[in-house]
Symmetry: C2
Subunit: 188 residues, 2 copies
């Protein structure tokens, strides 16, 4: 499956919450997420625009590969995500396995994620509000699609974002933003 | 944990079964196992003596990293094994993820494994009888140990193997044997 996603910085969260209520989006439970990003042993993921991460959601663990971004307006990319054994012991074992295979830990991203789901024209959307440690509040509008319905799905994401009053989408990942911040702060 | 293992080719399986019964080993359910081995994107696992594999046991899926073998008599090596989502869809997704990360599929090893467990002097042993497709019948005697009790654990494995009438242990992996066989058969 392909992931089609737009991301926005949020200055007025209460306004977005009002819009979500107005369209009838369903709020899910807030999730405590921590992402651990890794560098490839022989490929520069910054240049290839790929990502490999372990995501902890509460005590659940997932491994996720993200392929290069494709489209210009939204983020469209291949994503493979698989759950593995839960708990902190399994998490540190998978980290160790990746490091033994030559994947280097880059940094982690911690956030509180509140998911909202929304169904429109037989399409399922996920809207998430993220409170990202060190970065602030963001919203993502996302859907999944097969190759054949890609254009239609992208148009639907753009339309829904507009309806929610979201504009000026951001293409940089949280990881990228945090690393830019580190660079600009120098040795801080 | 470290895995300490000795492996033997079996010509007379009924004799081994009689020995297992005599020492009071407990038979487990036979398992249908399939291992998918991968080559590293930038390291030669044959030279570094490491292995990365996906193991399917029935419909369950595991990923396993094996570090270089250390001792001379037994096989002693670091092993990290983690379960991930079950079922054929998750299996093919993890294969795809590894391939997208540059890990190349080498070949698979299919076997029917019958495990026996045995407790002796507060130590747990696993003895397995493997019917390996294309290779024949083998037995493995294995225990797990922390670094500090390594010598003691290795001596216990050697002793148990002797007690079971097993001699001339083999250090080559099933994968290695199958690849040697392929080479010697040329283009067959």
């Amino acid at each position: 499956m392909l992931e089609i996603e737009q991301k926005f910085q949020i200055s007025d969260k209460s306004q977005l919450l009002a819009q979500l209520e107005q369209i009838g989006a369903t709020q899910g439970s807030p999730l405590d997420q921590e992402d651990f990003y890794f560098a490839h042993p022989s490929r520069n993921f910054v240049e290839t625009d790929e990502a490999l991460r372990i995501r902890r959601i509460g005590t659940e663990n997932h491994i996720t590969y993200k392929g290069p971004k494709r489209a210009t307006v939204s983020k469209i990319r291949k994503e493979i995500e698989l759950a593995f054994e839960a708990g902190p012991a399994a998490l540190s074992q998978l980290k160790e396995m990746l490091e033994l295979l030559g994947f280097q830990p880059v940094r982690n991203v911690k956030k509180q994620r509140t998911p909202y789901s929304f169904q429109h024209n037989q399409r399922h959307f996920e809207i998430t509000i993220d409170e990202v440690e060190g970065l602030g509040t963001f919203a993502e509008v996302e859907t999944l699609a097969e190759e054949a319905e890609l254009e239609q799905a992208e148009a639907a994401v753009i339309q829904l974002a507009g309806q929610l009053g979201l504009s000026s989408s951001i293409r940089t990942s949280y990881l990228g933003m945090l690393m830019q911040q580190e660079e600009s702060h120098g040795a801080d």
